[in-house]
Amino acid sequence: MTEALDRAELVVRTIAQTAVDNESYFCELDSVAGDGDFGYSLARGFEIVLSDWDELGHTDVPSLLKKTAVVLSKRIGGTSGPIWGTAFLRAGGSLNDAPEPTGEQVVAAMRAAIEGVKQRGNADVGDKTLLDALVPAVDALEAALAQGSGPAIRAGAETARAAAEGTKGMLAMRGRASYTGERSRDSVDAGAMGVAVMWEAVDAAWKE
């Protein structure tokens, strides 16, 4: 097994385990202005990623990401299925020619994921979605790449957390929360906080 695949597996597994472990917390976040199922939906998809782990084509990084995408879009309903499925699919596709990606290529893969999410959901930064944590976190990761993978991931995690908390006060323009109008300002976005928690878990699990 290559070191790249090893690390990709660590990241995917950590994300999946975090989704399963935080099922009720993520549901609570989605209850304030949404319909309370964000954690449930994610957990139903990612628990299959864990249980079917051995069948996820661990030949190289792109195929691992794409197989994960298929599980997610097959098994997650709601808004999150298409969004998260698209993100993993685009990231995997972007690495087709880079099975041993450099830091720059990882950043490019994450930008591809972001573009996919924007298209799929017709959303952008500022609409109060997970993009509001993911986009600044990837920027921070990129800016810190020169310091090595560990510090770069830590920078992403810290930015994601701050950005997720900053969604409180924003007006939701997409998803169910948008129907509550001004009242949506009172809470953080569930998806954004989900991204922050996952990123922190990856940071904690990472070994340079």
Binding site: S31, D35, G36, G81, R174, R176, A177, Y179, G181, R183
Partner: protein, 331 residues
């Protein structure tokens, strides 16, 4: 949580199994894709009509499958759109030479799931068209949202295109008809209580004993405004007025009036709302010639109601009169 439930994760499959067992001659449950379909579908002489959306809205939409209504419903989990894969598989199972019609309530998750499912199915040469239902006038400022939601008025779209599809209407004609019904339908809803999703086990939001939520959708999400609890008359006046002034409906119009219960409200109370609404419409010269009082599109056990109006004409009257055989049996 005061619910009849075994394993919350099996809530939807167990419900679907029950529906199929109770209607063995007409309905089939396909567990692999979480779908309910007519036993006699697909039929190449008839467009197949499919509706998906989250569960928790029963009788919408799984109990609206039957002759003259839907050919299949592919529900997701409670309040979650179905995975796109299920949309794709349902569409393949129901593929008809005359085409497949997707009826979607305008919610982000549902639209994305059906978009992806449609792409996958079209790649296999299935002809598909889509109707988006968006009858909810509570969503005022559609600039800041994905647009109006599709709620209880959706039943009128299903009923009309379902009836026309039995008469052999083309896919194109059904789309035009469905869009026309949607364009003359308006709905506004409110909640007296929150609802409790089985997987969450506690109410989605807290509402004081003297509070109510005006302008809720059907997924237990809060509405636009929280207000002091009002009398039945004041509540229905506000819901009705929001609908009437939006289209607007005006003196001389003939309309269908639906008072839809959200799941926890007894039918006695719905008839109290109905009586007031009918009188208010009469006083404005708007004539109610068709009435629907009961549960059509619910939010689990939420106490609350929505009011829908549909402007009628000869064609719609004929289609609404046509027989419909659905899994909601009465005596």
């Amino acid at each position: 949580m005061k619910k009849f439930v075994n394993d919350p994760k099996q809530f939807v499959p167990e419900m679907l199994k029950g529906i199929a067992l109770a209607n063995p001659d007409t309905l089939k449950y396909v567990p692999e894709y979480n779908l309910i379909m007519r036993t006699d579908a697909p039929n190449d002489d008839k467009v197949s009509i499919i509706q998906g959306s989250g569960s928790g809205h029963e009788p919408a939409h799984v109990m609206a499958v039957g002759r003259g209504m839907l050919d299949a419903a592919c529900p997701g989990d409670v309040f979650a759109a179905p995975p796109s894969d299920y949309v794709y598989e349902t569409t393949k199972l129901l593929a008809s030479k005359k085409g497949v019609l997707h009826i979607i309530n305008n919610y982000t998750g549902d639209r994305m799931a059906f978009d992806m499912g449609r792409e996958l199915a079209e790649a296999e040469d299935i002809t598909i068209a889509t109707i988006l239902v968006d009858d909810d006038v509570a969503v005022k400022d559609s600039l800041y949202t994905v647009g109006r939601r599709g709620v209880a008025g959706n039943f009128f779209v299903i009923k009309a295109v379902g009836a026309a599809s039995e008469e052999g209407a083309s896919l194109e004609d059904l789309v035009a008809l469905g869009n026309r019904v949607n364009s003359v339908t308006r709905t506004m809803g409110m909640a007296l209580t929150s609802c409790t999703p089985p997987a969450k086990g506690s109410p989605l939001f807290e509402l004081g004993d003297d509070e109510m939520e005006m302008g809720v959708g059907i997924h237990g999400e809060p509405g636009r405004r929280r207000e002091k609890l009002a009398s039945a008359n004041d509540i229905v006046d506000e819901l009705l007025d929001a609908c009437v002034t939006d289209l607007p409906y005006s003196s001389g119009d003939e309309v269908a009036l639906m008072i839809n219960g959200l799941g926890g409200t007894p039918i006695s109370e719905l008839y109290i709302l109905y009586g007031r609404a009918a009188e208010q419409l009469a006083s404005q010269g708007i004539k109610v010639t068709r009435s629907y009082v009961g549960e059509y599109c619910t939010s689990l056990d939420m106490a609350g109601a929505s009011v829908s109006l549909v402007k009628l004409d000869d064609e719609l009257n004929r289609l609404f009169d046509a027989p419909a055989e659905v899994a909601v049996r009465i005596f």
